[in-house]
Every structure is written in C-alpha cells, then in structure tokens.
Symmetry: C2
DNA sequence: TCTAATTTGTGCGTATGTATG
DNA sequence: GCATACATACGCACAAATTAG
C-alpha cells in the first residue's frame, strides 16, 4: 500500500488513505483476511496524526470493507469495495406491513448497500444491547424506538449525523431526523374523510388493547367522535363481545380483524349494511378480504422510499409520512 | 476442546477460549474434576500468548466454573453453566408467512436468547458475506439456502454442530440437520385431498413464474395431474390472461392471488361455482379473503416450534415439516 | 534428599485498537 | 492534532508448588 504526495492533492488526507486502501484491494495487493499496517505504523510512515488514520480506517469499517480486532489490528473483510453503505435497521417487531416498508427501502437504496435488520421486541435491554454491539460498524443507523422509554442515553452513543428515527416521533429523540406518522392527525383525518359513511352507524367502537399501540390513535379517535358528536366506545378485547347492528368497529391489528369478521358472520349480520369495519395499516390482502376492508394506513412504500432518499442524500429532515383512508366496501 | 477461526472472528480470543470450554462442558466432553490442558499446552497448540490463555481461565475461575492448584493445573469444578445463546438466522427474503415462523421460533426459545435476522435476497455474494462476517459470533446458525448454488464452501466455515438448514433440503448440505418442506409430496397430497372438489373443474392452471420457487411444486403439480388424468396448464404470468369458466387456479404468491381474484370479479365469474382458486402458504388473512381461500401450506408455527426445540436440546435431526390442504370456500 | 521438569501465579514491557477530552 | 486512560494481545522472566525420577 503506497500513499503518495499528500501535499499536492487537495483531497482530505483521510480520504486519500481510504482511496489508497481501496486501490490496493482492487489491484489485489490486499486480499480478504490480510492485515493492514497498524495505526502507529501508518502514522509514522506517512507523518500523519493517529486520528487521521483512525478516521480513514473508520470509514472503511463503516462500509464493511475492513474490520478491527482489539489488540491485533485491522483486517480486510471484503474485497467488494463498491459497498458504499452499511445500514443498521432496528425495528420493533416483525409484522406484515413492515414487509412493504423494508422492501421499498431496499429497492430505493441501490445495489451497493447492505442493510442488516434487527428487532428489539419492545424490550429496552434488547434495544440497548443491539445498539451497543453495533456501534462503529455501520454508516447509518435507522431506529424505530416505538414507545420505549429511556432510549436517549444509548442512542447518544452513536454518531449523531448517522442516526435516523422511524415511524414514531420520540420525545427523547427530538433532535434527530425522522420520518414519522402523526397518529392523532391521521386517525382524525382518516375518519373524517369517511364521515359520510360513518354517520350511518349508531356507534363507533375502537378496539384499543395493546401497550404497544401509539396513544395518538386513541386521542385522534376520541377527538373525532367528540367533535362530530358521535356515540363511541373504547374496548380492549373482543372476548365475550357480541357485535350488534349499527356498530362500526375500528380494529388495529389483523388477528382481531379476523375475529370481528367471523363474529359478524356467526351473528348473521351483513357487513356494510348492518355493521361496519375499519382496519389499520394496509397490506396487500386487505383489498380482497371480505370484498375489501376499509383501512386507515400510512403509505409504507413511500416511507421506505423517502427513507432511502434521505440517507442517500445525507439529509437530516423531519418528514411526516402521509396517511389516508382507503375506502373499500366494509363501511 | 476445539477452538476455531481466530482470525476471521471479531470476538476477542480469550472470549473464544471461554466459549470453547463452556461448550465442551455442556457437551459432556469435560466433566467435573477433569483437568484442563495446561497453559503451555493450550498456548502451543493454538499459537496463543500465555497471558491470553490465563485471561480466559481467570474468567472461568471467577465464574466458579473451574479452579486451579499451583503446580498441578486447572480443573473443572462445576458443570452448571448458563450458556448464553446467540442465534444467527439467515432467511432468503422477508414475506408475510415468515412472520409466523419467526415469531413462533422466538416464542419457543425462551427469554434469554438473542436472535439476529438476516436476508440474502437470493444473492450468493450477500449470502457468503453475511456468513463470513458472522463466523464465531453465534452459538447457532440457522440457514435458509433456498435454491442458491455453491453454498457448501461457505457453510463449511461454520462449526458443523452449530448449523441448521431450514425450509428446503439442499443437495450440497445433506449432512446438516434440517427442517424441510417436501414440496413435491406436499403439493401432490394437498391436491389429492382436494380431489373431490377439483374434478368439478375442467382445467387446473398453475401459475409458476419465479426462479425463486422450488421446483418440487411444479413436479408435484404435474405428477398429480398426470396420475389423475386431469387437464392442466402451467403459465408464468397472469398478464393478458382472461380466466375462464371451469378453470381452477393454483397461485403461489399473494400478489397474483389478488390479481386473479380481481380478474375473476371483472370477468363476472362466480368464485367456487364458475372458477376456483388454491393458494400457497397460509397467512392469517386468507381465512377471510373472498370468504376463505383454500390453501396448501406447511405449518410455519410448528416449523418454528420444532426448530426452537431442536436447538435448545442440541439435537441434529432431519425433520419433514407437515403440510396440508386447508379447505375453504374458494374451490 | 536432591534435582529436574512442569505447572500455576505474578510482574514488567510492548503493541494494538477504543474512547474521551 | 495531541494527550490520556483502558481493554486486549504477545513475550519474557521469575517465584512457588507439585511431581517424577
């Protein structure tokens, strides 16, 4: 590995080091598994500051081209130097609408990017460990903190310009760029655009159970019912509940969506005529479930698209992802 | 006691020694009272510094697993080890039925296990890189090789007793424990158990497009049609295809499932009466899609359950995961 | 009893990457 | 860019306990 003429070039020194190592890998002088000269050696040989060398090596590490072992040194881990980005993606849990988000994100990133996906399952210890274990290994960190508390200390260990928050704006993480759903507004406006259909029913029933669900949904629902003077009820389970004529159910998850559809059938009620259903978070099949389920949903494809865009262009924005009512035959 | 791959792994050497000894104790290779190889022996055998070995032995000593006698050696003092499990899970791609598999796997593992999920997207380079980058960091490796070729060399870099194959048995990886679908048999038997309903139709149409899909499906379908002397057709796209009365469509993915349902509607055909649908891989919503879609599917919950069981009990089995026809109103 | 070899235990020096200010 | 503290890794020297001959 030869690095030449630092003075003559206008490029930052660390970039020149990066380029020199890339060049050595491309030319086959450095192969997978080879050890790089140590920080001290490079520093001495080329009269650089240790920090400059670290800077260069870190960029290569973030891109997954080299890796380091304490007490030993730096090693070439990939000869694929087109890998420009390595992205750490931390979701709360795996469910069907994440599929759209994830796949559209991947599609809009381009080939030279590696995305590793993790799940914290609403467990703060898992959240902390996953972040800690991966500090320094990625060029971007996309985090879906959901409703976890006390995440700030951990997230602050990451380089600030590489962190992006996803799905829910988080009070502790207001300084970070984010693509979020405005649940309260989305639910309110979603219901509003279905108002004409909804006033046919006598009562709106929200099934709001899980700790996991954003409180904005509840707020938006209540606000909508109050401002339009609609009779409503919030329940936390469908067990022992018999759906009655004149009710319209707003269910947030797919398991309960199926439950209510089956209960409606066994009660011999006719969907749309006697009773209505609105679901949350659209997925492919809802278009054909029971002739089409009306759904309030954010656009997960767009969310993935914008996320990719923001990261590729190194932007630090706060974007509210649009949501809408997808009107189908269930109300 | 075998210690592998010092170079490739990012884990500190002394930690790897600790893990190897724990492993040996768990597996019964080392029992209470047994003497460990001396510092010098280990140092020579694995080309380590004496301090590194001491470091490892000290950690085990502090945890009460071994003890030492000056001038004699190190001895196992306890077989009671809480082995921390870290599981590497490599899927092909993210789609809705993986949700069941993944979640049931997690649920059956117990709380103290960390599972990291990766996707190779049917790209052999990604496959190789993901495995290489994670050698030595996990206690089990679960791999879904799908139809990738030339995977053996890479997989062989992993410790053999820690690798499990999932979903498809793979010719190159016949020596590894596996939980697999027998696609040919599953499709044949699935169709067979629906024979009574199927003979009402004039023609069976299989939509078989993707490179990704296992060839066993095609074979099973063809075999079934031949042995029962049924008129059939295999097509690779629904574009420009008008569904006709008397046809029954077997579609493998959800996007095409929706397409065919919509085409049937616009053609003003009546599902079940004029035309039939069978889909592949069950998911929650299919129970209520168009009044219920008949599906041939393996039991992904059971697959996850058995996988967890096999790993927790350190078994090396070859298990065929059961599949069945879930008869609903679409045929 | 003496000796030599082996083993653990300890200390010191050097080198590496990591983290902080 | 510099300084400092820390964890890991390697190598050497020596002391103390054990064992074999």
């Amino acid at each position: 590995m030869e690095i030449v003429n630092f003075k003559e070039s206008s490029a930052p020194k660390y970039k020149q080091i990066v380029a020199a190592i890339e060049d050595a890998i491309v030319k086959g002088k450095l192969k997978k598994g080879d050890q790089l000269p140590s920080l001290n050696v490079v520093k001495e040989k080329y009269n650089l500051s240790r920090d400059t060398v670290i800077n260069a090596f870190n960029e290569l590490k973030n891109r997954g081209i080299i890796h380091s072992v304490v007490g030993k040194g730096y090693f070439v881990s990939s000869e694929d130097i087109v890998l420009e980005k390595k992205i750490f993606l931390l979701f709360d849990e795996l469910n069907s609408f994440k599929e759209d988000l994830y796949n559209s994100f991947l599609q809009n990133l381009g080939k030279n990017t590696q995305v590793d996906l993790f799940f914290h399952h609403f467990n703060i210890d898992v959240f902390n460990r996953l972040i800690h274990d991966n500090i320094g290994n990625y060029s971007s960190y996309i985090i879906m903190p959901a409703n976890l508390k006390n995440v700030k200390v951990t997230v602050e260990n990451l380089p600030k310009d590489k962190v992006y928050i996803l799905d829910q704006a988080h009070k502790e993480l207001e300084d970070y760029p984010v693509i979020y759903q405005n649940f309260e507004k989305d639910i309110f406006n979603g219901l509003l655009s279905g108002l004409e259909k909804l006033i046919k029913y006598e009562k709106l029933v929200l099934l709001f159970a899980k700790e996991k669900q954003p409180k904005g949904i509840l707020k938006g629902f209540q606000l909508f019912c109050h401002t339009h003077n609609l009779n409503f009820e919030v329940i936390n389970t469908l067990e022992n509940r018999l759906p009655k004529k004149g009710e319209v159910y707003f269910v947030l998850d797919d398991k309960n969506l199926i439950r209510i559809i089956k209960k409606i059938k066994t009660a011999q009620l006719i969907l749309t005529k006697d009773i209505g259903i609105i679901s949350f978070n659209d997925s492919l099949l809802k278009e054909v479930v029971a002739n089409g389920i009306t759904t309030i949903s954010t656009d997960f494809n767009l969310m993935g698209e914008r996320l990719a865009e923001m990261i590729l262009n190194n932007q630090q924005l706060k974007i509210e992802n649009p949501s809408k009512l997808i009107l189908r035959k269930s109300i």
